[in-house]
């Protein structure tokens, strides 16, 4: 461990530590532009200069390029080096347009800070400045090249870190230009990080452009709830509206970055169509009256049909608080449920995954990055858990091999091996890899199995969207087997939704909404309480859902999103978003993380004042406010039904261990910033292995694999106008042979299903796909497609053109 002295203070650091980082550990922040911990050192900007007083090479050196040496003595305050840095800052400012008053970066600009702290206050350069034309980089990122200080961070981030290839460095000398070959939308779904990575205002957040400066914003630590990874974000709010997300550093989850779905997905919270007001039989009404009406009607249904005639369904976007109250309400009132998943197979798969994660070698994204071999089974990373794709790329950059076992064609920004197996064949394939018996004398499997057994820290990533529960058990066994054999193996799962892990723990019967619908159809269920449920978005058979809901005596809906179920509700009770109430979410790694309340709620001023000054009407309340968190509404409802007083201030996080032993670690006390790992004690799963759909060969038609898309599938972000611009045209992926047999040509437009209007798709004939399947995206419109047996027949395809 080299021990060095910086500004008369000494510190021990691990070998290989750069002086710039060693200084930071001492609290000495050496200025930097090109250096970024995630991107490494390149020594381009020269502003991190220090003076080495003792060491192998003395004099002015760049601290980002300098390894700490034992006995080294470094000064950051030496007069000459301070003067040198002052010059570097002056040089960087030569061409800067000084447009800080109209620059969105103003106030959190590294260049601004460094210029001021470096003492460069007087402009001496009198020559002409170089100027640039900007490019239109699409709906997310604004380009403003005149502000550029040529630190190369953007291109290094974009090309090296994320692996996308449409941003480059053009020109030479002082004309160096960062941009695309031509105007156009940045292709990387991680492009938004450019706005964080850029130390000045070249890349700024486009949707929030001119909405405020950082000091205008209420900034709170949040958790992204747009997929199961739970990346850390900072929520920027102003005028009762979330206007921006920034990536927040979390070394245990996302590191420095987030994806564009997470960054730009927030507008649902202030959408004009958001249902702010309670409703009874379609009429707006005040919240307490609606709540009492709901309680009265529930009591009536229970009195007539018994309490089991009341069913409760939440979703995987419910906070743990809401889930806990749902669970307590069901236990207390004898209601059915709660269910959280739309489809039973998801409930089973996630339950199985959670079970193994609680007891097995669960790891997080950092372990994926550090792995030397990653087997990704049944996951399309970019679309289901975008930051996983970046973690895999970092593993690949460090030399890891990545193998994707997935029926779908998968695109990733690095080289990987793809085994296109049908969903049902993936579990046995994983089992074969464990070494039990090579499948089919498969040499490839043998080789991979050997590499797997020989690798130091392999990680298995398994997805719950398309894999059956049995395959998740097989994935977990594979990882556990290697741990037993002494390897540092890990298991990482991708789950459907930000709190799917929590849902699996509180899910009583491991059934899905499908079972509830069946129970409605059979007449067993007469009343349904839907809490922040995405049934109208995610349930694969909307016609059946609508019919079932229509048969109910009572439909109570709690939500903050407008949807067909809100409209169908007899009683609607508005709830708050995560921004207004915060909440705990357990990510796919079993890490419980807490989002902090970011704003007070109420309609945004842009809506109440039509974009101008808020209306000059004097009321005691915030216009549009008055919603409560789902957990509070559920608790009040249950209490009203029971005829008890609501337990007021008691935190919904009290006594969680009674609901599930793994939740014991979570208490009403604020969670630590890095969250808490839930662990231990889970065995409530039905144990009989699920039958694998292996008769696919004989059944007519092709098995449909529904697939997530990064933009358009996840119901919250799908409402963001900027992201809607990036949504793909729905597509039908079909293999070459099948396409020929069905006479489908690549690029042809078709419609499928019986929905109205028909769901239009473009045909894509592909080769890297499992046999016997077609792939269809969960993009708006997919819900209309009624294909009861999950298979597609040629006659389902119509309107060919």
């Amino acid at each position: 461990m080299p021990k060095l002295t910086i500004d008369n203070r000494s510190i021990d650091v691990p070998p290989g530590t750069k002086v710039i980082d060693a200084a930071e550990q001492l609290g000495i922040m050496i200025p930097r532009f090109c250096y970024h911990p995630a991107l490494g050192s390149v020594g381009a900007c020269r502003v991190c200069a220090v003076k080495v007083l003792e060491g192998r090479a003395k004099g002015i050196k760049m601290s980002c390029m300098l390894d700490a040496e034992d006995g080294m003595v470094v000064s950051t305050t030496d007069a000459e080096v301070v003067d040198y840095r002052r010059y570097v800052i002056e040089w960087l400012m030569l061409n800067h347009p000084h447009d800080c008053p109209v620059c969105d970066e103003g106030g959190h600009c590294l260049l601004q800070d460094t210029t001021v702290s470096g003492g460069h206050g007087l402009r001496r350069y009198q020559g002409p400045k170089r100027t640039h034309n900007d490019q239109d980089l699409g709906p997310l990122v604004q380009h403003e090249m005149n502000r550029c200080i040529q630190c190369y961070r953007c291109v290094r981030y974009y090309r090296e870190y994320t692996g996308y290839e449409d941003l480059g460095v053009m020109g030479i000398g002082r004309r160096v230009y960062y941009g695309r070959f031509q105007d156009g939308t940045l292709e990387s779904p991680f492009a938004g990080n450019l706005t964080d990575v850029c130390p000045t205002g070249v890349y700024t957040d486009k949707p929030s452009r001119f909405k405020g400066r950082r000091w205008d914003f209420e900034r709170t630590p949040g958790i992204c709830i747009h997929c199961s990874l739970g990346c850390a974000i900072t929520v920027d709010a102003r005028y009762r509206e979330v206007v921006r997300h920034e990536a927040r550093f979390n070394p245990f989850v996302n590191g420095h970055f987030i994806c564009d779905r997470g960054r730009y997905g927030y507008p649902y919270a202030s959408a004009a169509e958001r249902p702010w007001q309670a409703a009874l039989d379609g009429q707006s009404i005040d919240g307490p009256t609606a709540l009492q009406a709901a309680a009265d009607r529930l009591t009536a249904v229970a009195a007539e049909h018994g309490s089991r005639a009341v069913a409760v369904a939440g979703s995987t976007r419910c906070s743990l608080e809401a889930m806990a109250e749902l669970s307590r309400a069901c236990r207390g009132q004898g209601w059915r449920g709660p269910v959280f998943f739309e489809e039973t197979r998801h409930a089973r798969a996630v339950g199985t995954a959670a079970n193994h994660l609680l007891s097995g070698p669960a790891v997080g994204l950092p372990a994926v990055e550090a792995a030397d071999l990653v087997i990704v089974a049944g996951v399309d990373p970019v679309h289901e858990a975008p930051m996983l794709a970046l973690a895999l790329r970092q593993a690949w950059r460090r030399g890891a091999a990545v193998v994707i076992v997935d029926p779908r064609p998968v695109a990733l920004p690095f080289d990987f091996a793809h085994r296109p197996l049908p969903p049902g064949a993936i579990g046995p394939w994983l089992e074969g890899l464990g070494g039990a018996a090579p499948v089919d004398d498969n040499k490839d499997q043998d080789d991979l199995g050997r590499r797997f057994r020989e690798s130091d820290h392999p990680v298995i990533v398994a997805g719950t969207d398309i894999l059956p529960a049995a395959a998740l058990a097989q994935a977990a066994d594979l990882a556990a087997g290697r741990v037993a054999a002494g390897q540092k193996a890990g298991l990482f799962c991708i789950l459907p939704g930000p709190n799917a892990f929590g849902a699996a723990l509180l899910d009583e019967d491991h059934d899905g909404l499908g079972q509830v619908i069946a129970d409605i159809e059979s007449g067993a269920v007469k009343a349904l309480v839907l809490v922040e449920s995405d049934a109208a978005w995610r349930y694969p058979n909307q016609a059946r859902l609508a019919n079932a809901l229509a048969r109910l005596d009572l439909l109570i809906v709690l939500d903050y999103l407008a949807s067909p179920v809100v409209e169908a509700a007899h009683v609607f009770l508005p709830t708050t978003t995560v921004y207004e109430s915060g909440g705990v979410f357990i990510n796919s790694g079993g890490r419980a993380q807490q989002a902090v309340t970011a704003l007070r709620g109420g309609r945004p001023i842009t809506q109440t004042g039509q974009g101008g000054h808020p209306p000059r009407v004097f009321e005691p309340d915030i216009p549009g406010a008055g919603q409560q968190a789902a957990w509070a509404v559920v608790r009040a409802l249950a209490a009203a039904v029971a005829g008890e007083a609501s337990p007021g201030d008691l935190s919904p996080l009290e006594d969680l261990g009674q609901l599930h032993p793994a939740l014991t670690v979570i208490t009403p006390a604020p969670l630590p910033p890095e969250g808490l790992i839930v662990t231990g004690g889970f065995s409530s799963l039905p144990t009989e292995p699920e039958a694998v759909a292996s008769d696919a060969g004989d059944a007519p038609g092709l098995e449909i694999v529904w697939t997530e898309r990064i933009f358009g599938s996840e119901p919250l972000a799908a409402r963001a106008p900027a992201l809607r611009e990036l949504q793909e045209t729905p597509f039908l992926l079909i293999g070459e042979g099948e396409a020929a047999a069905w006479q489908l040509a690549d690029g042809a437009m078709v419609a499928i299903g019986a929905g109205e209007p028909p769901w239009k798709l473009v045909v894509r004939v592909v080769t890297d796909m499992a046999d016997g399947i077609v792939v269809l995206p969960r993009l708006p419109g997919w819900q209309q497609v009624v294909l009861p047996d999950g298979r597609l027949q040629p006659e389902d395809i119509h309107q060919r053109s």
């Binding site: 449409d166 480059g168 695309r180 070959f181 031509q182």
Partner: protein
């Protein structure tokens, strides 16, 4: 569009290479000769030929002075303005050229014949002041010699 002949020739050149990127500048020069300058199409074709992202090729076309992303005249005249030619009267030479052709540095004559570009030391300091015409050197120039040269080029073009 590339002619089939040129495409085949370039593909053949690249085919055996362990690292086709080594040939990117050669390919760009060939396409530049073919199109007159590097059109957007040419840059995209070069990228495809050598298997590089198109922006990575653009990173080079905008770096190297002998790759032209804008149309140039039939004769590109590079006037050396480095120190030895400067000593030996590059300035009056350049003024003479601009006057004779009626264009400024960086411009192309209306008839599309001549483009004037500055160039740094071309390694013919023993024959200063010197210029390049389509990469061919002319040294020890005087206004008279320049006039003759322009005349010859004009005639050659006809």
């Amino acid at each position: 569009m590339l002619t089939e002949e040129l495409r085949t020739a370039l593909e053949a050149k690249i085919a055996g290479a362990a690292h086709p990127q080594e040939y990117v500048v050669d390919v760009l020069f060939a396409l530049q000769d073919h199109y007159g300058h590097l059109t957007d199409e040419a840059v995209a074709e070069a990228a495809q030929l050598v298997g590089m992202p198109v922006v990575a090729v653009e990173e080079l076309t905008t770096f190297y002075p002998f790759l032209y992303r804008e149309p140039v005249g039939r004769y590109v005249i590079n006037v050396c303005d480095s120190v030895v030619c400067w000593m030996d009267g590059h300035e009056s030479l350049q003024n003479h050229l601009m006057e004779r052709l009626g264009i400024a540095m960086g411009e192309t004559t209306a008839d599309g014949l001549f483009t004037l570009l500055p160039v740094c030391c071309i390694g013919y300091c023993d024959r200063a002041p010197a210029i390049l015409v389509n990469k061919k050197v002319y040294g020890e120039l005087t206004p008279e010699k320049l006039d003759d040269l322009l005349e010859t080029l004009r005639r050659e073009a006809e």
